[in-house]
Symmetry: C2
Amino acid sequence: MSGSSLFAKAESTKDVEDGRALTPKFDADGLVTCVATDAASGDVLMVAHMNAEALARTIETGEAWYYSRSRGALWRKGESSGHTQRVVEMRVDCDQDAVWIRVEQAGPGACHTGRRSCFYRAVPVGRGGAVTLEFRDAERAFDPAAVYGADKTKP
Amino acid sequence: MSGSSLFAKAESTKDVEDGRALTPKFDADGLVTCVATDAASGDVLMVAHMNAEALARTIETGEAWYYSRSRGALWRKGESSGHTQRVVEMRVDCDQDAVWIRVEQAGPGACHTGRRSCFYRAVPVGRGGAVTLEFRDAERAFDPAAVYGADKTKP
């Protein structure tokens, strides 16, 4: 399955922005950005990428599939950890180069470091001077070594 | 101001994922992804990019700055429309190639098409067959021609 055959080609900016056809604008690497938020809390869980096949499979199955840039491979979220994501709603943005999925996150967390969300550190803003990150909601929800094994590479 | 001088270099994956230093992982184009959500509703308003200078200015001022790929220019959100974004909280993700900002959106909307959010169309999932987008929360909150002028190009 190539995935890309699922998607129409955009004819005009008006079609992209105001049309009913899904015409994803893949970047030079063939990817769109995907933001996954927790359907219950609204928190951003992760930002990842989808190629045409990952996007097509997500739409077909209602489960989140991504494309791992570091591994150069299609990746069903949770295939190693069991921490799958069921898509409650998918949306596409105005210029169709990003999608937003609201998901039910299975298991304790989405992040490969063991946290519920990948965004477990705050960047203080508007204070001036050096920037020191502040941990927030950073308790580990699971032990990544136990879930992925010691040789885990980041998805 | 180059911006990049503000940021430390990462020494190791452990430093990137578990450290207190902001060591943004800019892509080949010098950009990180930024997700802006509405601090009140939790909705994703937009996905955009920041170069080192945009990130530095956002941190310094507490107002959202981006880098427009289409215009090749630094861009203070709202500089044309007045629809600025005050950053309530910024977070960075595990591998520091994405930031999430929770913002107070000034004015009626964040999207250049006149909607409150750029994500005004849903993609049905898990149904099979052809994909037809469904408009959601797609009422125009403002008239983009009146706000930006007829020659508006997408930021």
